[in-house]
């Protein structure tokens, strides 16, 4: 199996795998911050996690455009990763303004 094809399969789920991990970490950090009273540090911690999650997604979404018939999977992966980036920006954006514990 060519490395390119195998990478295509991994990349197909990579973006949303990162989205899932970020979702779990943010949801856990939100709950922990409320339970253990992180106070003024709570929102900055969540924002840092948010930005930290966006970085690899931006990288994945800006990979060079693949060519040829073997590019079907890499192209689908590119679109899936861009969707994951969009989902992350929108779904996690409330960490910047929403009420954290009430």
């Amino acid at each position: 199996m060519s490395q390119g094809t195998r990478h295509g399969l991994v990349r197909l789920v990579a973006g949303f795998a990162i989205w899932s991990i970020a979702f779990i970490v943010l949801y856990a950090a939100q709950a922990l911050g409320c339970a253990y009273g992180w106070g003024a540090w709570h929102r900055p911690v969540l924002i840092v996690i948010y930005l930290f999650a966006l970085a690899p997604l931006i990288w994945l979404s800006t990979r060079p455009r693949p060519d040829g018939t073997d590019a079907i999977l890499p192209t689908a992966a590119r679109w899936a990763n861009r969707a994951a980036l969009l989902a992350s920006v929108l779904v996690f954006l409330p960490v910047t303004f929403a009420s954290l514990c009430a």
């Binding site: 060519s2 994951a84 514990c101």
Partner: protein
């Protein structure tokens, strides 16, 4: 062509190997075509039962102050309606369809683990029967299909009604779990040579993603059911807030499964649509790549919305915002698929036939359901509509629109493949209109009753609240709907009896299943095709005769073996030859032993349950007897001038992949347990005054060391074996070490004072039990590897037994460490408080 036998002779040779004899021997069948049909027929029987229950519900609600059913019977009826439709109809129906269809669509002769398919079917039959029998004797579950605690806890449901649900559904879920692993592995490994991933038909992509979702989605429900049954049977307080538990934990675990479940049901139906629509549009599907990306997006996003079922329980705004945004966002990948289908039809030359009627019905009904879904994703609206009939209307629009309409399209499209006959059409069209009109009359009006404030699950209502005429019309609509389904049933029977026969591919479809004879032979293809292009743009009418004549791979019968091929996951290059196990009664016996375990728990014969579990394990250990090879045979001829090794001589074979997949599933269940423990620690009430849990640390350290030694021994055993050395002693040492770890974990469980006193102790107790069980399994797998080695089934090239031993021993070590970490964390939770 003279080098090939005649198609008739080849058929007779292969059929003699693959066929299931008549009479009682049918019970030994492991053939995917037979089992797929059994799954679907049984699912339709349960659909009829669920439909009858819905008639009772609508009869009760047709008029105000009705005394047709009492509240208790009504509670059982609506609970069983939801339970039957979700767990006994929808999931098994698509499983059966996938079991029947996938090998044919992929160009294989059967699924990866035929005996597992049969075992799954028997578990489905027995588990479903437990629920139906309980209903017939008036002991059906009565707390709603989602079994919320504390209503379903022992103080409020003291009888066995809730146990019937927890144990019966868990038993049925075994079939879902086995199907998930089997379908996942089959799609990845058992395609026709040359069918690279980017050439797979879209239905296979949909089922690959669905199987992946089932692997991650089902364990939280199974864990939740285990925990609730442990609470009900042994008073371990996971959901009791007075002892550190939390009813919300059940809701989290249930909906962690429950919401992805909606997409698990929808995606196979969408896969069927993506296969049928291009056939009737007479052009290839539009947006193949976009659809793949959309399926992946839907699959992941669907795991991030479960809390929208819990918007009203009191959750901080930030969490509400996460789940609300994700709930709205999931509409986008759904819309991508809808537009791809509409675009395919718009840019093609659509021809109208019965499947297309149901596809049109799907568009109307499902889009309405999707739009009300976006409404419910918005927190303010959700808060108003929560637990009202608006939600009932929404979920029926989504599930009937997203599953039943596509299913009916699929039945009319593929039934000729099953029956070998075409539809008569006399009843098909009136049946469709009755279903469409009846459905919308029934459920559209429920949006209004919901908005007018009618709550779900009430058994009756007063006559002065303005709901009377809406409910009466809904009930009339439901009977129209039922007449429509009855006509479909009659239509199908008539098709089997009087439909015109045809030769191949009556719809001029482009997928491989139409290259088989119809009805399909037991072995699917007399020889396996080589795929050089997208596998949804083939010409089955031309490929079929060539394959029947033995012109593809494996176009011969050899040594009475059920042979098929496995390929590289991504490229589809031929990798190895698989000799599938023949028919056997073992799956039936094993399922009966499993049934004895569940029935013993149900009837509280707790002394008998371990015997049932041991009998099940013992029978599973008999399964591999006689399978495998005692010599290295090297590459063997597969036709077309190519030769590949047997599966036992390949490190990436289906058995190893299936075990890796099973471990991911098991790991998800374990992660759910860890989540449960941490959730209770952080969120649940009554943890402030709980004291530290003093456990003998040295026992835990010894247990981890023993498990580590076992894992290390199996790892070294694999390496030693690969270089030609003897691994007997290493495997023996691994088995002994893991057995010691098991004993030590059990000793730790015994050392916990009063596990029923608080959730802290109950979680640690259960975690240690999970670790003990997995160390015991690791010991068993190491012993199994040793036994296979002694019997001569292991060599430097035939290393499957040792790889499995390492996988399960390594997993046991990971579990041991994490469980001890959880015990330490929870055990000290009260110290500083």
């Amino acid at each position: 062509m003279s080098e090939y036998p005649s198609p008739i002779r080849l058929h007779k040779q292969l059929d003699a190997i693959w066929r299931t004899p008549p009479g009682l021997a049918r019970l030994s069948s492991v053939n995917h075509t037979i089992l797929g049909k059994r799954f679907m027929v049984l699912a339709l029987v349960f659909f009829a039962i669920g439909g009858l229950l819905s008639m009772l519900i609508r009869a009760q609600l047709a008029t105000p102050n009705s005394a047709f059913l009492g509240p208790e019977i009504y509670n059982q009826v609506f609970t069983m309606h939801g339970t039957v439709m979700m767990f006994l109809f929808a999931i098994p129906m698509f499983e059966g369809f996938a079991i029947y269809m996938l090998p044919k669509l992929l160009g294989a002769r059967d699924l990866a683990f035929p005996r597992l398919t049969a075992y799954g079917f028997w578990c489905y039959l027995f588990g479903g029967s437990i629920l139906i029998v309980a209903m017939l004797v008036g002991l059906a579950p009565n707390g709603g299909w989602f079994m919320y605690t504390p209503l379903s806890s022992r103080p409020y449901t003291p009888g066995i009604n809730a146990d019937v649900w927890l144990l019966g559904i868990t038993f049925v879920e075994i079939s879902a779990v086995t199907a998930a692993v089997e379908l996942f592995v089959t799609i990845l490994k058992m395609r026709a040579p040359g069918m690279a991933l980017h050439r797979m038909p879209l239905f296979a992509w949909y089922m690959l993603v669905t199987a992946g979702m089932m692997i991650i989605g089902f364990p939280p429900l199974i864990l939740g059911s285990i925990l609730l049954e442990l609470e009900r049977a042994f008073d371990l307080p996971f959901f009791d807030p007075t002892r550190g538990g939390d009813p919300l934990l059940w809701q989290h675990l249930f909906w962690l499964f429950g919401h992805p479940e909606v997409y698990i049901i929808f995606l196979p139906a969408a896969g069927a649509l993506s296969t049928i629509i291009p056939v009737f549009a007479q052009r290839p599907i539009l947006g193949y790549r976009a659809i793949i990306a959309a399926i992946v997006a839907m699959a992941f996003l669907s795991f991030g919305l479960w809390v929208h079922h819990m918007f009203t329980v009191g959750i901080p705004h930030l969490a509400l915002a996460f789940f609300s945004a994700a709930s709205a966002l999931v509409a986008i990948p759904t819309a991508v698929q809808i537009f791809a289908w509409i675009g395919t039809l718009a840019s093609g030359r659509p021809r109208w036939d019965i499947p297309m009627l149901y596809i049109a019905g799907f568009f109307i009904v499902f889009v309405i359901g999707g739009l009300t879904g976006v409404m419910l994703a918005m927190v303010p609206f959700n808060t108003q509509a929560h637990d009202s009939y608006f939600v009932v209307a929404h979920l029926h629009y989504v599930l009937v629109g997203g599953f039943v309409f596509p299913m009916l399209a699929a039945i009319y499209h593929w039934l000729p493949h099953v029956s070998g006959r075409q539809s008569l059409y006399r009843l098909s069209v009136p049946a469709f209109w009755l279903i469409l009109i009846g459905f919308n009359l029934t459920f559209f009006l429920m949006h209004l009753t919901g908005l007018m404030g009618m709550p779900r699950r009430i058994s009756t209502y007063p006559s002065n609240w303005g709901w009377d005429w809406l409910n009466l019309l809904s009930s009339v609509g439901s009977f129209v709907l039922t007449i429509g389904f009855a006509l479909v049933l009659a239509d199908l029977v008539l098709q089997f009896r009087f439909g015109a026969r045809f030769r191949r591919d009556p719809w001029q479809a482009g997928t491989l299943e139409w290259a088989t004879a119809t009805p399909p032979p037991t072995y699917n293809f007399a020889s396996l095709p080589r795929i050089e292009t997208r596998a949804d743009q083939l010409h089955p009418g031309e490929i079929g005769p060539m394959l029947a004549g033995g012109g593809g791979y494996l176009g011969f019968a050899r040594n009475g073996a059920q042979e098929t091929l496995a390929v590289d996951i991504a490229t589809g290059a031929v990798e190895h030859l698989i000799a599938l196990p023949r028919r056997s009664y073992l799956p039936l016996w094993t399922a009966m032993a499993t049934a004895s375990f569940f029935l013993a728990l149900l009837f509280k014969l707790y002394w008998l349950a371990p015997l049932g579990a041991l009998a099940t394990i013992a029978l599973f250990l008999v399964w591999p007897v006689g399978l495998g090879a005692k010599v290295d045979r090297g590459p063997v001829d597969i036709g077309r001038g190519e030769a590949v090794p047997h599966d036992v001589e390949v490190p990436g074979n289906v058995t190893i992949l299936a075990n890796r997949t099973a471990l991911v599933m098991d790991g998800t269940l374990f992660a759910s347990l860890l989540f449960g423990g941490l959730f209770l620690l952080v969120v649940a009430p009554n943890w402030q005054r709980v004291g530290p849990l003093d456990l003998p640390i040295w026992l835990g350290i010894l247990a981890a060391l023993a498990s580590g030694a076992g894992a290390g021994c199996t790892y070294v055993a694999g390496r030693v074996n690969r270089f030609g050395g003897s691994a007997y002693l290493l495997l023996l040492a691994a088995a002994i070490a893991q057995a010691m770890a098991t004993i030590l974990f059990v000793a730790l469980m015994i050392a916990i004072p009063e596990p029923t006193a608080h959730a802290q102790r109950a979680v640690v107790f259960t975690g240690l039990g999970y670790a003990a069980l997995h160390c015991a399994l690791a010991a068993l797998l190491a012993s199994h590897g040793l036994w296979r080695m002694i019997m001569g089934y292991v060599s430097a090239r035939r290393q499957t037994g040792l790889v499995l031993a390492w996988l399960w021993n390594g997993y046991a070590l990971g579990v041991a460490i994490l469980v001890l970490g959880l015990a330490w964390l929870l055990g000290n939770s009260g110290a500083g408080a």
